[in-house]
Symmetry: C2
Subunit: 406 residues, 2 copies
Amino acid sequence: MDRYLVISSDGHAGPPAPVYRDYLEERYKPAFDEYQEQVRQLLELSRAMRQNEEFVAKWERITGGDGGLTAAYDSDVRNRVLDEQGVAAEVLFPDADVLGTGRVSASPFGSGLNGGAGTEPELAMAGARAHNRWLADFCAQAPHRRIGVAVVPILHDVDAAVAEIRAAHGMGLRGVLIPTRWFDAPAYLDPRYEPVWAVCEELGMVLHTHSGAGPADYGLGPGMMAIYATEAYWWAARPLWVLIWSGVFERHPGLRYVIAENGAWWAPDILAKMDEKFVGGHNTEKMGKVFREAISMKPTEYFDRNCFLAASTPGVEDMERRHLVGVGNFLWGNDLPHPEGTFPYTRYWIRERFREVPVDEARRMLGETAADLYGVDRAALAPLVARIGPSLDEVHGDRPVTPAPA
Amino acid sequence: MDRYLVISSDGHAGPPAPVYRDYLEERYKPAFDEYQEQVRQLLELSRAMRQNEEFVAKWERITGGDGGLTAAYDSDVRNRVLDEQGVAAEVLFPDADVLGTGRVSASPFGSGLNGGAGTEPELAMAGARAHNRWLADFCAQAPHRRIGVAVVPILHDVDAAVAEIRAAHGMGLRGVLIPTRWFDAPAYLDPRYEPVWAVCEELGMVLHTHSGAGPADYGLGPGMMAIYATEAYWWAARPLWVLIWSGVFERHPGLRYVIAENGAWWAPDILAKMDEKFVGGHNTEKMGKVFREAISMKPTEYFDRNCFLAASTPGVEDMERRHLVGVGNFLWGNDLPHPEGTFPYTRYWIRERFREVPVDEARRMLGETAADLYGVDRAALAPLVARIGPSLDEVHGDRPVTPAPA
């Protein structure tokens, strides 16, 4: 095969609000109409406060006017865009809309990337069910190309969450997105979440967190958005060490966990420090055996076995550290249709980042590891890959085939 | 000079509770007696829960029985210990006692490393005043060797904090320790703290935060202490980007800020990411001009000019990144008398870490930068350095002079 199987480990999908409304159970529709009014106000505030008009104009120009959003819910458009970008399959998260361009996160009642924080628990779960039903239908329109991740707000009602994970599995979804932060709920070391880890392991549902949610404990002073952006990687990374140290992967050796859209550069240092503590470093010797309280192996051993970084749009510093992260734990992604992703220049960026990477490593990072992780049917995708997959020459050859971004 | 001027940028000092009691204003003594009862209970809890008895036994053996604590308040003992360790001068923080060895942080009413969190504001400030008065007296017993850092809980009453900073300066103290975390108070980007930054700049008082305070939002589940230890560096680093992005160093170009006992390995990555955002990286382009809201230079330029990492007991990974941090922004420290420091093997560890470091770099990191930062009188120290300072041969020679730790 002289072409790459490319699987984006980070795509976003979701329909406009009226479609979501149809997928909601009847009794939640009045609350949804009320909630959408809040969304409209948030949107106006967002436009007034932060919008980079120049960037939005450029973004709409290069994406043909819609900012890529039609691809977020129209199956044919999605497939056409993926073909152009050389992507055979993708993992689908919620919230294709983008606050920074004057749009707004969309999974009903904030049940998506925000994990239903700040919403009444019952509404958050109702919104999640609506999204998951829509997503299952969307995935069914191109079942080999679409790997659906169910949104499951686990912070409020663990039994309801477990039921929704079983339902999502029954509908063909292959992963679970839990809130990246636990806000005022107990943290993920709490035994109350045990049934969630257990059911994901049992059903082979891949557990995910996704970057986005930061705290607001620094208020609204000068530099606030810059502080948010600087810290975001850390808040999104935080569940990693909470899950490792609290023994979740010790008790559930078959559980697989993906941190999406959060780079990879930060992981080797933090994991090395964790190993140092586990083996008994000088700085923490006085703390005794607390590092062996819930685990029996080194933290990096759980990472290697159970954890994956879906490093969307990887930077040079992510790529340079791929051997420290583990090539087999590093998934490429394009974040379609978010403007911080590689769309509409994905072929260009794949070449930029992988040109000097050995072909066997590039194959794993661009798609093979994701294919194993999510049980992708390679045979079913083979004809598509033969037609649209980036060729070895396109990625590694002397001359670029695709032009650089304008 | 064939010897190094060694200045530890991280030492801890404080007397036993009865002495602190004498330094308190009369009206706070009843509250102090009550508070000490709580401390005793905390101590018992700490012993029961976490103590590593084996380590404590070893620690008491190698420190001659007192865990180094007599040096925390006895001037002659302190000088003798410093002489043995080859340290000419040191920066003095509070809380020489150590929770992990069954002792407990000591600055009255938790006014020390905890910044008075969880204490009534008036008591926190009264405790700080007592510590600062004691510290000024302790420094006066060896004025060229001791650089006192006043503890100033700034979270509650900014005017009182400013008054205490002026008082501390008047007593000869040369720096200010503010709480590392702001807990429920407004974060350090809030304009309310402006008078604190202004008075520190005006008086040349070096601003400090010190590692230690972590959040408790992950509760008490399995792995909790390991999670705390993994995250501690980040909480201690957090004020760095809050102060930079909110423009504190833009408005106060003369303010100097030290992050104590928090390593240095983490800084280059975070600062590089901040610069990337400032110059307009792809991932944050949609956010527009928020990265220039309060600053006019790249974040690393403020770091280079205003910030220092007092990397106590540096590890190999800290030393290897010294050029990325900036050799002139990297201060060595020994954390005396905490067991995670280099005491009683400081001479051994200086050789271990600096043997391969060029002499001019080692001079700056071991003492010269600190001497400039705190206005140390080199001439006054010269005879002492000639007697006790580690010689070039001791640090860089072929054969170790001091034996390895047992």
